[in-house]
């Protein structure tokens, strides 16, 4: 609650919030509406999208661009890949981050170890893409393998793998980069949550005869559940928008297309389809948005 004495002046508060409000309106609210409008127009935003319908073909009228965004085979592939990232990479990253947070808690060189895992968070996705392109490099001309992964495989007597162009592995190759990038973020947040769990409670459970696994499942995990939810929603949003890593490593080729890369590809050639994809993107984030606002409301109420 705001103290009464501070309720002086009707106009003054607006002088403080208005600059920020104006910029956010111009750069977030106005373009969001604009994007929706453009998504109902054709490739060059001159006619209605309905005009691009071809007689005898399926047509969604003014929502023709959404027919592309939701049924075109490239887009279906992209939607499938984003779903794969959400289902595999997000749990994988959280599990990795949690595992490391639990382990690092028990060694004296905790801060150094954590800094190493956290470091990728500070570098650009483009830089990370270059780092991992080099890890996945394959030499096909008969020379020595200079990519560390294929060198190990060849050293063990196997055949080198085209990690980035073989459709049976390349999506997983990209997800590994994602885990490498964001496990440090998960570790940091979960580690802080773990340290907040009361040591007496854990000790009491151990004295009562619970083994480490029971302590984890019954006490530790429920205590950090809210932090896990924060990490999950944050990662989910990052993954829905995943772009740089895919752009620099495969550019969405060989079956690795994702939504945001598709949107970027069409941004010059077909504004209507590109903005329709952007609207699909924000539609997918809206559930998370509502969830976050609700969580904030209940936290505020609890204060």
């Amino acid at each position: 609650m705001i103290p009464k004495v501070m309720k002086q002046g009707r106009l003054a508060p607006w002088l403080y919030v208005l600059p920020a409000l104006v910029i956010m309106t111009v750069f977030i609210v106005y373009p969001t509406i604009g994007t929706f409008r453009l998504s109902l127009l054709d490739a060059t935003s001159t006619h209605s999208a309905a005009d691009t319908c071809v007689a005898g073909q399926p047509c969604w009228g003014a929502f023709e661009n959404y027919r592309y965004a939701l049924t075109n085979s490239d887009m279906l592939l992209a939607l499938r890949n984003n779903a794969l990232w959400l289902l595999l990479m997000v749990p994988g990253t959280i599990a990795g981050g949690l595992f490391f947070a639990l382990l690092a808690d028990r060694v004296p060189y905790e801060s150094v170890a954590k800094a190493i895992i956290f470091m990728p968070t500070a570098i650009s996705f483009i830089g990370a893409g270059v780092i991992w392109r080099f890890v996945y490099d394959i030499e096909t001309g008969g020379g020595a393998q200079i990519g560390v992964l294929n060198a190990i495989i060849v050293g063990l007597g196997g055949q080198p793998v085209t990690w980035l162009s073989d459709p049976s592995v390349n999506n997983f190759s990209l997800m590994v980069v994602g885990v490498w990038l964001w496990a440090g973020f998960c570790m940091t947040i979960l580690s802080a949550a773990i340290k907040n769990v009361s040591a007496e409670m854990l000790e009491a459970a151990r004295v009562d005869g619970a083994n480490e696994w029971q302590v984890f499942v019954r006490i530790l995990f429920p205590s950090i559940a809210s932090s896990i939810i924060v990490v999950t929603t944050t990662l989910a949003i990052i993954i829905l928008k995943i772009f740089d890593v895919v752009f620099v490593m495969t550019d969405g080729n060989y079956g690795t297309e994702v939504i945001a890369n598709r949107m970027f590809k069409l941004i010059v050639t077909n504004v209507g389809q590109s903005t329709a994809i952007a609207v699909v993107l924000i539609a997918l984030t809206i559930p998370i948005m509502i969830f976050n606002i609700r969580r904030f409301r209940s936290e505020e109420a609890a204060r």
């Binding site: 705001i2 501070m6 508060p13 373009p31 830089g127 270059v130 991992w132 945001a260 606002i293």
Partner: protein, 405 residues
């Protein structure tokens, strides 16, 4: 107390230590690989893995023989006698084989036998065993044989000037290769070549610093109002901020690009500052407001009762006390903007920043690793310094809630 209890504890923890260390190594390998590679010659990068620099190097062919017979006079590098410089290709090429080497060695030097008391093989056939390795090693010494291992900064020079030739920039400049001179002057002004990382570095600083300062200024003002002032719609506007934090910036690209075209602001620094500010503000206000709101309320009350106005309370009280959160936010925003690719690619295409320039340097066929490694690390320097210097604040900025988009 049992003197060995510490040791017992260590061995009980051994699996934990092993797991932590294994994961750290796994996390480091990709970066270390690129880092080591950035100092290797392009020939070495192309032919051998970066990890071979940590393996014992096989001795070059002929090195033991050379060391035994020749090094005492000519020196380990072959440069000790200036009239017979064995690192000079012109000298070495006179003796390509064991036979020619033997003939030369039979000539006396300054009236004394070339090899002193050591007897030479009688026939060219006998000379094959000892002298042909020496002849091979002379080729290596003069830089014509296989790669002489060693580290160089040439990749960083190539990346800074954006050089994509078949040899490195410094070599081509020294040899005055015409195609190089057509684009480059081979002076320090090449550092500002539009395709190089040098200019991209400056562009990135010009983007990141104002974008960070603008966000801090506007967010601190708004956060103060959201925390301690009363105005209509305060509650729901703040709830809306939570929603705005995760609006994908892809939503804004096309309309803002069209707006900038209409205003003739395409590829302007002002345009990208404002865009980054717009998308940085929701999280910034949220983070600073939460911190300011947790400051003791009595302090603000008594300040007002003493007659201070809003501006004085903001400047003298709220702003200085909120500094930790402002530092966290500033570092977070700075690294975010520094590492951005998509916004710079679209709104600043004629002034490439570091990330955009890296993608320009990528060869789709997968070659030119040496330039890319140097370029990638040039782009890492600043975020790494900021990260290690202010890790505490950076982590705090992340912990303050969800992460902006």
């Amino acid at each position: 107390m049992n003197p060995l209890s510490g040791l017992n504890g260590f061995f009980r923890k051994l699996p934990v230590h092993l797991a932590v260390i294994a994961m750290c190594i796994l996390w480091l390998i990709p970066t270390v690989g690129l880092f080591v590679t950035s100092f290797r010659t392009r020939e070495a990068v192309r032919t051998t893995g970066w990890w071979t620099v940590f393996l014992p190097q096989p001795q070059a062919v002929g090195q033991p023989e050379y060391t035994q017979y020749c090094a005492s006079c000519h020196g380990a590098n072959g440069t000790s006698i200036s009239s017979a410089n064995l690192s000079d290709p012109a000298v070495v090429n006179q003796y390509p084989s064991a036979a020619s080497l033997l003939n030369m060695l039979k000539q006396p030097v300054n009236g004394a036998p070339h090899m002193g008391t050591i007897s030479l093989p009688a026939t060219p056939k006998d000379a094959l065993n000892t002298l042909s390795p020496v002849a091979t090693y002379l080729q290596t010494l003069s830089g014509q044989g296989q790669e002489v291992s060693g580290f160089s900064l040439n990749n960083y020079v190539d990346a800074l000037v954006g050089y994509k030739g078949t040899q490195d920039y410094l070599t081509d400049c020294a040899e005055k290769v015409p195609s190089t001179l057509a684009v480059f002057t081979c002076t320090s002004s090449d550092l500002l070549n539009p395709a190089g990382m040098g200019l991209a570095f400056i562009n990135t600083v010009l983007v990141a610093v104002p974008s960070t300062i603008l966000v801090i200024l506007l967010a601190a003002l708004a956060a103060y109002a959201f925390a301690w002032l009363d105005f209509k719609g305060r509650q729901w506007m703040f709830a809306l901020l939570i929603g705005l934090q995760i609006v994908p910036l892809q939503m804004a690209l096309v309309p803002i690009a069209q707006l900038y075209t209409a205003l003739n602001m395409q590829s302007s620094f002002l345009g990208i500052w404002l865009f980054h500010t717009g998308f940085g503000l929701p999280y910034a206000i949220y983070l600073i407001r939460n911190f300011m709101g947790s400051l003791p309320r009595e302090m603000f009350e008594s300040a007002y009762l003493d007659g201070a106005n809003h501006w004085a309370v903001f400047r003298r009280l709220a702003l200085p006390l909120a500094m930790p959160s402002i530092a966290s936010l500033g570092i977070f925003q700075f690294i975010w903007v520094w590492n951005d690719f998509l916004v710079a690619k679209i709104f600043l295409s004629t002034h490439p920043v570091l990330t955009v320039q890296i993608t320009n340097l990528i060869d789709p066929r997968g070659g030119n690793w040496q330039v890319l490694t140097g370029a990638a690390f040039l782009s890492f320097i600043v975020p790494m310094i900021v990260f290690f210097a202010f890790q505490r604040y950076f982590v705090r900025g992340m912990l303050a809630g969800s992460v902006k988009g």
